[in-house]
């Protein structure tokens, strides 16, 4: 297998661990090209240092923050652009702050639909179905009601699908899309954290069951 170690893999390992080319190549050869095991191998041999941070994605952007004046609620959000130039514009920083404010007010649980755990969606479906069958409607109507309720759930809990607090005719995604055409480069909302005093355990259990 040794011949199969690609130059890209060696470069990736070097970038992550900061080790030399020959060491990185040897590590990949010893671990059949498995990047994670190669990292461990280098540390075991004392070549790479512990705590080498995860691979950095070449992303630019800004961190937006909002804290309510009574300090009972705080939001942190990461908004990314392609270029440093866009990330540093005042408009971009302002947008990050506006999004932080929106998150404070609208309390989403997830950035995008894909982030909602599949089990939670299944559970919601079962719940909505049970509620809808009580109405004694034909089954295709019940299905429509369930789909409608599920969409409402996404609108309530998923940031990108929420109506923008400052103008509820647009969603947060619409606002981002407008920024994308305005700046002429891709803009993504990568992650957010929303802390409210005394609610930390609640959020965990919300994700788990509810």
């Amino acid at each position: 297998m040794t011949a199969a170690i690609k130059a890209q893999a060696v470069k990736a390992l070097r970038d992550i661990t900061g080790t030399g080319m020959m060491d990185s190549k040897r590590a990949l050869e010893a671990t059949e090209g498995d990047l994670e095991r190669a990292k461990d191998w280098l540390r075991q041999k004392g070549i790479a240092r512990a705590g080498a941070k995860a691979a950095r994605v070449a992303r630019e952007g800004t961190v937006g923050v909002y804290v309510h004046h009574d300090k009972q609620l705080g939001v942190l959000v990461e908004l990314n652009s392609e270029s440093d130039f866009v990330a540093r514009t005042e408009g971009f920083q302002h947008l990050a702050h506006e999004i932080a404010l929106h998150i404070a007010a609208a309390s989403p649980q997830y950035v995008r639909r894909d982030d909602v755990p599949a089990e939670l969606i299944d559970q919601k479906r079962v719940d909505f179905h049970r509620q809808a069958t009580l109405l004694n409607k034909p089954s295709q109507v019940v299905e429509k009601i369930v789909d409608g309720k599920l969409n409402q759930f996404f609108k309530r809990e998923v940031l990108l699908e929420q109506p923008w607090t400052k103008d509820d005719k647009r969603t947060v995604k619409d606002v981002l899309d407008e920024a994308v055409s305005g700046y002429g480069e891709n803009i993504t909302l990568t992650r957010f954290a929303r802390f409210r005093i005394g609610q930390s355990r609640v959020e965990e259990s919300d994700a788990g069951n509810s």
Partner: protein, 212 residues
Amino acid sequence: MPATASPTPEGGDKRISAEQVKALREATGAGMMDSKRALEATNGDFEKAKDWLRLKGIAKAGAKSTRTAREGIIATYVHHNHQLGVLLEINSESDFVARNEEFKHLAHEIAVHIAAAEPRYLRREDVPQGVLDRERAIFEGQASEQKKPANVIEKIVQGKLNDFYKREVLLDQPFAKDDKRTVDQLLKEAIAKLGENITISRFARFKVGEAS
């Protein structure tokens, strides 16, 4: 906002206690009578009572549940270039201590510490078992390469695991401004000074481009 909504004692019913009604009200935001009816209809089963309320259209699906009676503040730190931000929840027992200047200062200092020291976990228990196993395997590999006897190897591994905690776990980290104390010791000093329990319940640290 202190959670002081005291329950109007409703001792009338046979099995449903006032505490149950209060818990259900807090979890669902439903009124007292509805909560009581829900519990009666479900023989006091809390989860079933929640479903009952939702079936009747009384409780909203997204109702944010149980407020714990913790006080505290949210502290933040943002680096001037906006490339790094920290959010921190620190709790006290009373609103009074949460508004104390010294408490606010402590919160800010810890937020700055998190920015500088890059902890990944709050406490040791938060480190996933898989991560620990992987670290342990590496340390054992390192130690055995040095051809030491088994009992020495175990000591070396323990020592290295402790180093790992000191590097990655907030409470175990040496405080950035004074590395003779850990963050945990810093909290203990504040507890002694302010006279009530103080805990950090969570933090987030965002550096642009570092999201997994």
